[in-house]
């Protein structure tokens, strides 16, 4: 079944975007600066828009409609990586997650823009332009705060050390990895991770921050298989609270 591999790929990307989009939206009204409040809220809107486009592709492949898929599944049916569901914590952690995740996301959709599955290539080409603003935002703040004061540097470093094993979980391999690569749908997690590490080093080398030695870290995986932390279900309950009140409601 060629669609099984493709659907698995689409689900994990759509779920990543939806869950991190929701986490970003939790900054609305709480950002440390008005501009950051707006930035995280805008990125939330973009990411949820991306999840909608990807769920729409799944719908075209016979899955349920985007709202049903987004709002009626339980945690163990979600394929997002655990990294995206972690609580926002303080701004430094959210910023580091934004940097690590969005750098990978931008490369992922760059790679997918030449996917052999044309509908996916089309949305990837669309997201690519939008994501330049996200990576610009992340890079700007990491560079500024990563060279600013002892406090800003040590806070970012601590968050970076904490986030790295989770971030490596982004690249948890699909059981259909070989199929996806052979069919030209996606060049694979390993290739993505390689490019991601290069890109991270490019930015971090301009700061006082040190990329944790990823080779000796144990990646925190499981999310792609539906194994999540205790943080996901409460997020889903909150996100779908209104939808579940009246599932068939017309808005």
């Amino acid at each position: 079944m060629e669609n099984t591999a493709l659907k698995e790929l689409l689900y994990k990307m759509a779920d990543d975007q939806l869950i991190l989009g929701h986490r970003n939206s939790e900054w609305t009204g709480f950002g440390p600066l008005l501009e950051e409040d707006i930035a995280f809220s805008s990125m939330a809107q973009d990411k949820i828009g991306h999840s909608l486009a990807l769920y729409t592709l799944l719908h075209q492949l016979g899955e349920q409609d985007p709202d049903t898929v987004a709002f009626t599944r339980n945690a163990n049916q979600f394929h997002n990586c655990v990294f995206t569901e972690l609580p926002n914590q303080e701004y430094d952690f959210s910023l580091v997650r934004h940097f690590l995740y969005d750098t990978a996301e931008a490369i992922r959709f760059e790679m997918l823009s030449s996917s052999s599955y044309e509908p996916l290539a089309q949305v990837a080409r669309k997201f690519r332009g939008e994501l330049r603003y996200h990576t610009l935002h992340a890079k700007t703040w990491i560079t500024q705060l990563g060279t600013a004061t002892d406090e800003s540097i040590s806070r970012l470093q601590k968050s970076l050390d904490e986030a790295m094993p989770f971030a490596l979980g982004l690249f948890e391999k699909s059981p259909y990895e070989t199929e996806l690569i052979e069919q030209g749908i996606f060049a694979g997690e390993e290739e993505l991770k390689k490019r991601w590490l290069m890109k991270l080093n490019e930015t971090l080398s301009k700061t006082e921050l040190i990329l944790p030695d990823w080779k000796i870290l144990q990646p925190l995986e499981g999310g792609r298989m539906g194994k999540h932390s205790d943080h996901l279900q409460p997020l889903l309950d909150e996100m779908s609270e209104v939808f579940r009140l009246e599932p068939g409601a017309e808005w």
Binding site: E35, I38, A39, S41, S42, M43, Q45, D46, K47, I48, G49, H50, L52, A53, P119, Q122, V123, R125, K126, F127, R128, G129, E130, R132, Y133, L136, H137
Partner: protein, 163 residues
């Protein structure tokens, strides 16, 4: 029946009357989101291309297109939201760019001018045409606008993002 004389050009003309709900001086045609118009028997098919994938105005645009064309006597209208062509700010017409400036937005610079977004740190102030400006945030009140400040006339302004 579709009125006999209806042509594609005429449909575009009608669509000129449908404005971006968030920037009411800009028509959907000038915004460049109408990427295909076709007449198929009784039906008019419109391809609508989102500026940003998460733009919440798409559904409003879709229903306004249908309403407008029905009011012109088209019996059946189908609007398909599509990513076939990725929207670019290059799609905004010259007329549209002038309208943006008049409304107080800096029109997007040509995206052929930059390869890296970092040079977007300055924009031309739509009020005083000053170039002594600084980007305050790449994110603004809607997904398609960023925030700048003009050091010449001491006013904040928005730029339609190049994409």
């Amino acid at each position: 029946m579709i009125p006999v004389a209806t042509s594609i050009a005429e449909i575009y003309q009608w669509l000129e009357e449908v404005k971006d709900p968030e920037i009411p001086v800009l028509s959907l045609v000038d915004l460049g989101v109408i990427t295909e118009v076709a007449i198929d028997g009784q039906k008019v098919k419109i391809e609508l291309t989102p500026t940003f994938a998460g733009c919440p105005a798409m559904e409003v645009m879709k229903s306004e297109i249908i309403e407008k064309l029905k009011s012109k006597g088209i019996p059946e209208v189908e609007v398909q939201i599509s990513f076939r062509v990725p929207w670019s700010s290059e799609f905004i017409s010259e007329k549209g760019k002038k309208a943006l400036k008049k409304y107080g937005f800096a029109p997007p610079p040509s995206n052929k001018l930059f390869t890296d977004l970092e040079i977007l740190e300055t924009a031309i102030c739509p009020r005083c045409d000053g170039t002594n400006t600084i980007m305050k945030s790449p994110f603004g009140p809607t997904l398609c606008r960023s925030i700048y400040y003009c050091n010449d006339c001491k006013e904040a302004f928005e730029q339609f993002k190049p994409l």
